[in-house]
Amino acid sequence: MSRFLKGVDSFETNERKQLPFYIGLVGFGLIAPFLFPNYLFQIAILWIMILFAQTWDTMGGQMGYNSLGNIFFFGAGMYISAIVQVGLVYDVGVYTSAAGAGKASFTPEQYYQGIIYGTLAAAFGSALLAPILGLIMFGLRAAYFAIGTLGIALAAGELFGAWQWVGGGGGIAMPVHPGTADARAEFFYWFSFGAAVITFLALKRLYQTRFGLAINAIRDDEDKAEALGVHTLRHKIVAWSVSAFFLGISGAIFGNMTGFIEPLEVAFPTVTFGIFMVAMPLLGGKGTLWGPVMGAIVFHLVKEVTWTYLLGWQWVALGMIIIITVVFFQQGIMGWMKEKWPEKFGVVIDQTATEARNKGAAE
């Protein structure tokens, strides 16, 4: 169904049909702190994962540019936020070299100010890095784009690890939240929940504009789009900037949640979370609005369950899920639902062709 025609009944444009999902998700989000006070941290990570998955889908699912190194913006955002948060109060170089020699303290005011400015700086900083990378990478198609971006994320981990000003391989200790452990958990819970919801709404709105159609066209047939005069490079760069923007936010929040930024394990976990970022939208159905959300939820659940029961084998199990999804379940959950119940999800069947076929079968 064309998203641009009013009154057309399809899942993605029909708010009423999506309502149960909204209520379910938002409702859960609002009640969770009261139902599961001891798991707030894990659920907060779930919201971050949802944010994560959505940002990848803008580039990969909607536009067809499958980056394997988007985690770069996650880490970049994390470091930018850390630099701002620390830098507003102390000299960054001094702070990082004094690490371990007693924690530097931040007043509540400094803390909250820092985290807000830090997150904003992370968002815009990452968004500005995207066009720079884009100019280098967008001339490459498919395989090289994927490998090139993978390489950039790997190199970034090493570079930041060697950059003494931000703590080098030792990393940065983040400012500590000025409150009880419970207050801290709640703060980050609402922070990540809010960020996930805002990202969802922003992307939803974005996909409904001409931009959404244009990036889908680029995905379907970039040559044809160019032959029609579409400003493909412009759209590609904007898409990556949007992706980077929200990814930077998630990095900033995650860095603060973890409390300690380590370049390879926390900021640029290219081979683990970098790939999970891709697996989640695939699992849920790439190129759809709700696919990344569902994929993130399922993946996160599996991750938590395997951590409890499989421990050391957790990563192996997750890796197998990735392989199985990529090979056997490429359409993802949303794709599978569209195949089973096409009318509900807005796929129009040609009535005359179906009737002719049915008539033929009956005779």
Binding site: Y144, I147, L154, V278, V316, M320, I322, I323, V326
Partner: protein
Amino acid sequence: MLGNLQLLIAAPALNVQLLLDGILIGAVFALSAYGLALVWGVMNVKNLAQGDFVIFGGYLAWWLQKTFGIHPIFMMPVVMALLFIFGWIMYVLIIRWVIDRDLFTSLLATFGIAFVLQQLLNLAFGPEIQTANSGMQTRTLFSTVSVAEIKVVSFILCCILAALIVAFMKRSRMGQAIRATAQDPRAARIMGIDTERVYAFTYALNAAICGAAGVLIAMIWVIQPFYGITHSIRSFVIVTAAGLGNLPGVIVSALGLGVIEQFGGFVLGAEFQQVAVVGMLLIVLIWRQHQMRKLRQVVQ
């Protein structure tokens, strides 16, 4: 860094050293790059697990030496056979389903294999860096340049292996079948070639080649469960620079990369190894992109 650069200029012997080391290790890079090009050319699968197969081979050699005390060089055929079987199994279980699909699928599928392999190696052998003991000496040439005997042996073995592979591809029936399938799978099928077997064999052969490279790497360098991805990227750099089906090009690029890495590592420092390799990747990609732009195409 500048200090290191000055050292280079001041001491010509140092340059020779780095050049030599680069060439000796580059030969091993050439092996795994050739394997990558083979799989790529025949099945259009870009095997992101390449480097992890190498590390796998290395670990097998190392472990076999620890357990049975046999020198890794003698274990090479065993490791190659084991990796061959492993490659065949991977093909049957996973790769064969992604051959005809879009290339992101095959990239991600091989990456999944890489990921699982890394984790399994980590669980089995731990995250410490290991080296296999070759029991060989280091000689000194002209009293300034030191040459590890094992590196020379490794170089010779690479040449022998390369010669064997080339002979195999040219003379044997399977080799011819592989080349025919690479050119045109449909025509090959019409001629009665079982392309499924060819694909499986090719992937398995690649794994075996990687295994051999791994045995050598374990002796002349180091292995670690998570070092595989860097080897994969190295192979991609070489294949991208040389182009598919260009064996001499692969050799030259591989040796070149080896040398550049040695010099880069010396000047910039060892912590920038990954950066150096990725840097080379980007340079090669951008250079190709520039070439393509003159023909107004994109790098495919």
